[in-house]
């Protein structure tokens, strides 16, 4: 996957015409509204069950592919964030490419729910570098469930990205991809073997410790957790402590949920050493994202001085062996 070239004018035009026609930007979710909840399932293009690997590969057009995975918590009020993302996808790509934050970004979208209570707890698309990523986004089911126990199945998503992705960035260049999890709750206490079997289809015999799977994930991915300000958990010290423990400074609090695209773009620009925080915020103001720039500036203040390739995660490198929780 990952051919072609993104252009926001064709993308924006298609979106405008769809809106004029009265079509929902999340067409798959709209379609499922007429189906009983028990029968809801992930769109085949995003169903993680039985997937070997999602690949981000170099091509003739894209010789320096940079994998970016964005996984949204779509439970409860968090369903708003994918909609914001959809509205601003062109902005994100515009920043990444026109401002040169990344040469050949390839973006994968996915959605995270609650494997204890949701019909569709995990959805994962493909790495795309053109308008097909818009299609993937529109196929996400915004189930809007969640169990109300202050945890979602982020660890299941982390497992999928750790075990079921392959990237040329890593294989050929030893460069980590960037993973963004956008959510507002805790991981489940353990990565449940049953969830892995049911949702992803891997034959895993026992539960895995959460910090173990994040450690494995950090081998090939810079992992960021974005907590947007839209629920009571924004100020909850337990949430911050939990994620800071796993990801250190890559736990990012975002005042304005509308700025999530800008935050992702700038985080990548800084990680790729293409821009520093000050210049990046100036870029945002250039494109008219003034209030977003303020929110991003606050969110990234701790990351401002970070240089490319230096891990700031709190976890040490993995030993390569599953830290099985018996």
């Amino acid at each position: 996957m990952g051919y072609g070239r993104w252009d926001d004018s064709a993308y924006d035009a298609a979106r405008t015409f769809r809106a004029a026609e009265g079509l929902d930007d999340f067409g798959y979710t709209a379609d499922l509204r007429s189906v009983p909840w028990e029968q809801w399932k992930a769109h085949p293009a995003l169903d993680p069950f039985g997937v070997g690997v999602r690949e981000s590969r170099d091509s003739a057009d894209h010789g320096n592919s940079l994998p970016i995975a964005v996984l949204f918590d779509v439970t409860g009020s968090m369903g708003r964030v994918p909609r914001i993302m959809q509205e601003k996808l062109a902005t994100l790509h515009g920043l990444l490419q026109r401002k040169g934050y990344a040469d050949d970004p390839q973006i994968l979208f996915g959605a995270i729910g609650d494997a204890d209570s949701d019909r569709v707890p995990l959805q994962v698309g493909q790495f795309e570098s053109d308008n097909r990523m818009d299609e993937q986004l529109r196929l996400i089911l915004l189930e809007g469930g969640g169990g109300g126990q202050k945890s979602e199945s982020y660890e299941l998503a982390a497992y999928f990205i750790a075990r079921h992705t392959a990237t040329d960035a890593w294989d050929k260049r030893g460069r980590k991809g960037n993973l963004f999890i956008v959510g507002d709750e805790l991981n489940k206490k353990r990565l449940s073997a049953r969830h892995v079997r049911d949702v992803i289809g891997d034959d895993v015999g026992s539960d895995i410790k959460v910090d173990s799977i994040y450690r494995e994930l950090s081998d090939r991915w810079q992992v960021h957790y974005i907590l947007p300000n839209q629920s009571s958990y924004y100020r909850d010290p337990e949430i911050a402590e939990h994620w800071q423990g796993l990801l250190g400074e890559r736990f990012l609090r975002l005042d304005d949920p509308g700025a999530v695209c800008e935050l992702i773009a700038l985080t990548i620009g800084i990680a790729e050493d293409r821009v520093d925080l000050g210049a990046g915020l100036a870029d945002l103001r250039d494109i008219g994202s003034d209030s977003e720039a303020d929110a991003v500036g606050k969110a990234l203040a701790p990351l401002g001085g970070v240089r490319r390739g230096r891990s700031v995660g709190a976890l040490p490198a993995t030993t390569g062996v599953d830290d099985v929780d018996l």
């Binding site: 070239r5 004018s9 064709a10 924006d12 035009a13 405008t16 769809r18 004029a20 308008n131």
Partner: protein
């Protein structure tokens, strides 16, 4: 003033004379002209018709300039339609408070489709021309017209036939591959274009054949020209022209087919401007009249200003085969005490010239000689007469019926010409 006639609004200069503001006023409730639709009869998305009405500003490109008054637009078969730009313009209009602007739009299925492939080719070609640039807008209007001359070009109706459209887009891309290969301009992947064009076909009314009579039954039509007659493909200063019939021939023919009368309203400023390369005898860099909405374009260069030139305007009137009335805009620039003068004749190597001859239609040799003459002409300039409308009426042989004294809709005044 106009009776029951449909109105054809044409710019007698090089463009930017105020067609948009004029059409906006004609369509406004205050004018009371019962306009049923604005019909675009030439050009494409490169048009830039600035309208300011009660604090709202919009640069009309493909939507008709009556849109702020919710007058529908028909893009006729003579238009080069660019759906991506149309979507962007719809978003701008929606932001100004025009509800569901795309619902105001109808498009003739025979109109040519102007694509980013044409645009990229256009810019690549202009890049290689260096200082010999034609002053193109970089959107690909010329490429669209040229490609269609000898290829099965994509048309608006094809957006409803995905298989046909895809085949035509692939052929188009292959045709332009050599031009684009060395350049720095790219275009959207065909899949992305297909997505946008098929959504366009579902969202906008695409009409078969001639539907003009139906629009005319609902009331008066205003034909909104783009560019200016002096840029007309056959009557303009070749080769610094546009690939479009700017003079009212096509609009008149459309009305003739439905058997209804038209009134040609020629539009000029109180001085002349030109945006892009080409001869401009009265150009004067010392004229510093402020320009709110015309900026330096990457492919057009700076905005040029010059003194009033009744010789060129008279030639444009002749190229229109006569006009019925005149609208004179930017009279506030004269009142503001700018040093605007008017040409009485040209001094040339062959002596004094006080009238430009209209050659046979489509005789580009004649047009080239006109360009040569203008390029080497020195205008004899004199002070503007106090009664500028009266002066233009005498010079151009048509009554001034409308005057513009500022950029806003409220700055337009009806002028009832004195009986001869």
């Amino acid at each position: 003033m106009f009776g029951d006639r449909h109105l054809i609004v044409v710019d007698l200069g090089f463009g930017d004379a105020g067609k948009g503001a004029t059409v906006d006023w004609l369509c406004s409730p205050a004018a009371g002209l019962d306009v049923a639709a604005v019909v675009r009869f030439n050009g494409g998305a490169q048009a830039a018709h600035n309208v300011i009405a009660g604090g709202r500003h919009h640069t009309f490109r493909q939507f008709g300039s009556g849109t702020l008054s919710r007058v529908p637009t028909l893009l006729s078969r003579h238009m080069l339609v660019e759906p991506l730009a149309l979507a962007a313009e719809a978003r701008e209009l929606a932001a100004l408070g025009v509800a569901d602007p795309l619902s105001l739009l109808s498009v003739d299925e025979r109109a040519l489709l102007s694509t980013p492939i044409h645009g990229a080719a256009n810019r690549c070609r202009e890049d290689t021309r260096g200082t010999a640039r034609h002053g193109s807008c970089g959107i690909g209007i010329g490429e669209t017209a040229r490609y269609a001359l000898d290829h099965d070009a994509p048309r608006v109706g094809d957006c409803r036939r995905p298989d046909v459209l895809r085949r035509k887009l692939i052929a188009l891309a292959e045709h332009y591959a050599p031009v684009l290969a060395g350049g720095r301009h790219r275009y959207d992947p065909i899949d992305a274009l297909m997505q946008a064009y098929t959504a366009f076909a579902r969202a906008v009314a695409i009409l078969p054949g001639d539907q003009l009579a139906g629009f005319a039954r609902a009331g008066r039509l205003v034909f909104e020209g783009a560019q200016g007659v002096l840029l007309d493909e056959w009557r303009g200063t070749h080769p610094y022209t546009t690939w479009s019939t700017v003079e009212p021939r096509n609009a008149r023919a459309m009305l003739a087919r439905i058997g209804e009368p038209g009134y040609v309203l020629g539009v000029t400023r109180a001085y002349l401007t030109r945006h892009g390369a080409g001869p401009f005898p009265t150009e004067d860099p010392d004229l510093t009249i402020p320009e709110r909405h015309n900026e330096t374009g990457e492919y057009q260069g700076g905005f040029r200003r010059g003194h009033l030139d009744p010789l060129l305007l008279r030639y444009a009137v002749d190229a229109c085969d006569g006009i019925d009335g005149l609208a004179v805009n930017h009279l506030d620039a004269v009142d503001a005490g700018n040093e605007i003068r008017t040409a009485t004749a040209y001094l040339t190597a062959d002596g004094c010239v006080d009238r430009l001859r209209l050659g046979p239609w489509q005789d580009l040799d004649h047009q080239r000689s006109l360009t040569d003459l203008l390029a080497h002409a020195t205008p004899a300039l004199t002070a503007l007469p106090a009664d500028l409308p009266g002066y233009l009426e005498a010079e151009l042989g048509a009554p001034v019926v409308l005057t513009g004294h500022g950029p806003d809709r409220a700055d337009r005044r009806i002028r009832i010409p004195a009986e001869a």
